[in-house]
Symmetry: C2
Subunit: 424 residues, 2 copies
């Protein structure tokens, strides 16, 4: 809340933000707009119209990434700027959608600026709405940016099914968002997002410069028990998979609470019970468990503790716990020259800023592995995220859009090209 909303550009951005939040709006003041649902499709058509109205050409690639292209310098590579418009079930209005709209408005403002004589950029500009960042309907998350960056084969993505058996291919076709555009050649990437935590609010920051992500270990565990009658089976005979899973969930929390100096976050958000019948002891439970920390040694120690607990639980609950898949990533930095550029911009615009870390994954986590990437945050009130009550002040989202516009302007001017960088 460091800026007042003073300009017609801010007003225009905020009007579009409130219009955009009507797609998939929920009674509780949030949105429910999972990947390639009708609401996601309607919102994508709305974004397309907005971009086309301002001279962008809109294309879809094979995995439904939506690109708004502004080719000012024929044949030159692109600066990509965006985020994702899909949401979790009963989620907030900000999350990735804010970042896509901020990118679109940055593009609209820069097009106007570049139309002035002598102001032309060095790179072309592409606004991007990545497909299925959330991963709630189709796993894995960050699907669109994973395909774009070559981390996930397109056929694997298209063949993924939701719980109703509908594939990504079918779902994208149903909303008319599967295209054959091969994608722009990217030189740089920028993204803005709400923090989804409390650190910036506590420190009174308007802009966070993301310099690295937390390390994370994500596991899919399968707890194997044996079906039995809940009434008649003797307690000592039972191999209750749901009891084993419950002990594992409690253990994960206890491991988190063990680390009092450096935070460790542990969670189980998704769990499936078989057969899930009131009078049957569960034969199997599948669950997704993750551990996250900014300190890799904490993560390694937590991982060791968790596996020790798993062995104890196997004995105590008379079950087998199988680690079916694991997906781990380490603390990885965003390019320091990008952080330095963003610091310079924030200074110039007069926004209170500091370096922050991202605890959540973002499409920028993928993009930073292929091109220099600038990741920005605006604060989240009370850190509420993936919840209808997610909130960021109008002043902050407007400030973030100004900040993103200036960063993209510099990226498009070649400020990060060899020899042009500011001191880190």
């Amino acid at each position: 809340m460091t800026e007042t909303i003073s300009t017609s550009l801010d007003q225009s951005f905020l009007a579009d933000f409130y219009r955009m939040s009507e797609f998939g709006a929920t009674a509780g003041g949030g949105v429910d707009r999972q990947a390639a649902t009708a609401a996601d499709g309607e919102q994508r058509r709305w974004l397309q119209a907005l971009l086309e109205e301002h001279g962008f050409s809109v294309q879809y690639d094979a995995v439904g990434n939506q690109f708004g292209l502004l080719e000012t310098v024929p044949g030159a590579p692109y600066v990509l700027v965006g985020s994702h418009m899909d949401s979790q079930p009963l989620a907030g209005r900000y999350d990735g959608a804010y970042g896509v709209l901020a990118a679109a408005h940055a593009g609209i403002r820069l097009r106007a600026k570049w139309a002035q004589p002598g102001n032309g950029p060095k790179y072309n500009l592409a606004v991007v709405n990545w497909f299925n960042e959330e991963g709630s309907r189709f796993k894995p998350s960050m699907m669109g940016s994973s395909v774009f960056t070559g981390k996930l084969p397109i056929e694997a993505a298209l063949g993924t099914i939701d719980t109703s058996g509908i594939s990504v291919r079918e779902a994208l076709d149903a909303v008319g968002c599967r295209g054959n555009y091969s994608g722009p050649e990217a030189s740089y990437y920028a993204e803005i997002h709400v923090e989804q935590g409390r650190s910036m609010e506590k420190r009174g920051l308007t802009i966070g410069l993301v310099d690295s992500n937390w390390a994370a270990n994500k596991y899919e565990f399968v707890v194997h028990g044996e079906q039995a009658h809940t009434g008649s089976a003797v307690i000592a005979d039972r191999k209750d998979a749901l009891l084993g899973a419950s002990m594992l969930i409690v253990a994960a929390r206890e491991v988190a609470e063990h680390f009092t100096e450096t935070p460790l976050h542990t969670s189980v958000g998704e769990l499936h019970v078989l057969p899930n019948s009131p009078v049957v002891v569960a034969r199997q439970v599948n669950l997704l468990l993750d551990l996250r920390s900014a300190d890799e040694s904490v993560l390694a120690e937590a991982d060791r503790m968790l596996h020790e607990r798993i062995s104890e639980i196997e004995l105590k609950a008379n079950v087998l716990i199988e680690k079916q898949t694991s997906h781990c990533w380490s603390v990885t930095p965003y390019q320091p020259e990008g952080v330095a550029l963003a610091a310079d911009v924030a200074e110039e615009l007069g926004f209170p800023f500091a370096k922050v870390k991202t605890l959540a994954g973002h499409d920028s986590t993928n993009m930073k592995d292929i091109v220099p990437t600038v990741m920005l945050f605006v604060p989240s009130v009370d850190g509420i995220s993936h919840n209808e009550h997610e909130f960021t002040h109008d002043e902050d989202i407007a400030a973030g859009t100004r900040m993103l516009t200036a960063v993209v302007d510099r990226l498009c001017s070649g400020a990060l090209d060899a020899g042009n960088q500011v001191a880190a």
Copy 2:
């Protein structure tokens, strides 16, 4: 295994048992035949053909209970004998289906006996296949016998929906099993079932005479938390409904383990997580929890302990735990004159027998509240139930069918009418 299979009647029964087990057969050697599914419908048509072939008239009532009527004494009331053919998902071949087939064969044998001059019964006979005893697809369990005994309104039963939104009415219509028969006037009821526990096997019994059921408290709990991002939400801020539910499941087991003298069985078989997404802390979990014991004072103490633990969990996990519904029943006896009659029959047939208690609910649990009821058990190998590996020896199911036939014969002759009873 106290009898050899010696007669053609036994052989005929066993042949039908193996034929019957093909409906909804699973690769693992069990059956999957939930209420009013295609497999349940096919099996009901097969039973209808079997009964009609032997002179029974088959009728369906409004909730899909299937009656095979043998009216030997025009206008007289009926002795009902049966169980249920629906199963849990991935269940065993015995459970209720054995009891219905044993009832059908008892009827077929008695019809032949009664056709001899001077052998006519006093009551008519109805073989019954109760609808939806299992309650896995449609809740509550014991639905058909609950409607028949006036405990559940027919409209409430027909309006119940499964997880796909299909109602009992629609599901019964889809398999052609919703009728308009008002049901036979019942004077007595008999049922045979596999024990689903180990007590008879341990004691070397062929026949169990059920003299009472365990007391039970069944609760539906709703754990209320708050949606948050699994990555970024600080552990101390979380209101994780799945963590609270897991603590409750672990607590229920610990309460069971506290009672070492008199057994207490506690279970959670069914649980639903909202939104059940990998990166969202759950906002709500609904679960069904039950406590069972043969000793009502143990149950009362367990209930007190559980509620004490719930208060602790609410504080520790930062959630609210709401008891949405509860359904409790006490230890209730089966009519002692029925137990005495069955003991007399077992003695006469030379089967090792003793009184046993039922830990699970059965359709007879409902029927005994309206008419004198005889409930019989045959042993279960290793007590395995609601599991594809459920098993009872051929000798034992054949013996049980003989036993049931003789019991029903006596009931139909009026042996439990006032003045005719044997000493208890």
